[in-house]
């Protein structure tokens, strides 16, 4: 019984901490790919070019499909500001210059940390980003935003 209460307490504490970290701006964001990819790190420029549609392949030439978190996610905000150098509105304006000309399609919005991680873990062509607290062995971190 004691262990039960204890575990529940830890569980709640963990949830609170996770929530707190997700909204805090100092949370680290990790750019992740499938563990089977043939490279271990990317530069900020590499990641930015993939997420702004300027490049469509990983180093080595394999097809790369970037996926976003949903609009409004703190992780997405931080990623866009730090890597793409654009706030939410600027990011939207940037893509609307390409969408309505047939020159590009923005990365799909794939959900939150867990949803993105699950997608990346199942797709060797995909690249995404999650709060680093969400990282586990199913994905490989190739770039970190402090």
């Amino acid at each position: 019984m004691k262990t039960f209460i204890m575990k529940r307490y830890i569980c709640a504490l963990a949830a609170t901490l996770t929530l707190g970290m997700a909204s805090a701006t100092w949370a680290e964001v990790a750019v992740i790919v499938h563990p089977s990819t043939g490279f271990d790190s990317l530069s900020e420029d590499d990641v930015s070019r993939l997420f702004l549609g300027k490049s469509k392949s990983f180093p080595g030439g394999a097809q790369a499909v970037p996926v976003n978190q949903n609009e409004g996610s703190a992780t997405r905000e931080k990623f866009n500001e730090a890597v793409c150098k654009k706030n939410a509105s600027q990011y939207k304006a940037y893509w609307s210059q390409l969408v309505f000309t047939g020159k590009g399609t923005p990365p799909k919005d794939a959900g939150d940390d867990a949803a993105v991680k699950a997608l990346i873990a199942a797709n060797p062509t995909m690249i995404g980003y999650v709060d680093s607290s969400a990282v586990d062995a199913t994905v490989k971190v190739v770039y970190k935003i402090p």
Binding site: K86, K92, S96, Q97, G102, K103
Partner: protein, 407 residues
Amino acid sequence: MHRPCVTLGVTPQMKKISSIRNTHNLALAIALGMATPLVHADDIDFSGFLSVGGGMVDDENSLPYGGYDEEDFTLDDNLLGIQLSGNVAEKLTATVQLTARSENDYEVDAEWAYLSWQATESSKVRAGRLRTPFYMYSDFLDVGYAYAWITPPREVYYLPFNNVNGVDFYTTATLGIFDTSFQAYFGGFDDELDLNGDDIMESASTRNQMGIAGTIGKDWWTLRAAYHQADLSVDVTGIAVPVFGTLGGFADALTNLGFADNANKLLVDDDSVTFAEVGLNIDTGRFVAAAEYVEFDPEDALLSKNKRGYVMGGVRFGDWLIHLTGSQSRDEASHPEAGIPVSPQTAPLIGALQAVAASQVVERDVVTLGTRWDVTTGTAIKFQIDDVDDENQGDQQVYSVALQTVF
């Protein structure tokens, strides 16, 4: 005992994923309903843009500008656009962009309708109705949300032909540390335009229209250059002129007097015209700047040689962008009188020809002060004041406002 915690973590995502599916299905249903030939497409992208705007002028006795000629505020510069895009086969995409504008009584127009073939990972060939890449902002001219102003500077963005029916090739490449793009197209277009602002539409067409446009950039800056040529015809014969009644009558009179060359220069009939553009775009996040210069050369047509440009600079403060633009038109009159021997008898003729040519010249300075406020992601509200100083038509001030969204 760990399970409740995990379940709590998973349920919200499941909901999110299913709501994405629902939106997708809704878009698909709308798209299918609107474009039945695409029934077999398994993935249709639906997107759109909206602009609701209005404005007023300071002095309705002076020249109209930017579509406004009343001192009372009118909210009638509205535009709705939707774009549907779907794969019809592997590497083959069909795209249609439909717009409805208040100025055309919301008549639905297909501004873009093309098939696109992804030839390689970085290049595509498109065929159908395309946007002519005249300017830096041509591609997304109707999508106000994509830029700072309510509409790009009118002195420079004045060409009546925005589209072309034809084929194009578009490719992007990384050269060293630079991002580049290149586009080439061939086609033609038929349209009606109001050449001299008298509300009488002249029919116009281009044939053998072709052009190239290239960009090079890195992170916060992009340079652009474009060059186009076309055989242009505009039926100007109905335009009223003193003494001869119409330009057509004037041209006939010139031919009868033995000045067939000059008659030809008075008309716009299969004339080889060219248009060149250079532009610069800067966006550092805090600062934005843009500049474009264009030249239209009508060769032997009545139209003037257009030399126009603008320079814009702006600063962002949080969700606000404040920008200042100076634009200029310095057209040069054509010389339909060239070659007529000067004598007391021909003086009135030469004078009349020069007057017609001069009527096509615009010499104007416009200073634009504007703000863009990003209310939410995807929606901006813009205010703009244009101070117009026209050499021939006087001064004007235009106040306008618009709400522009993308979805």
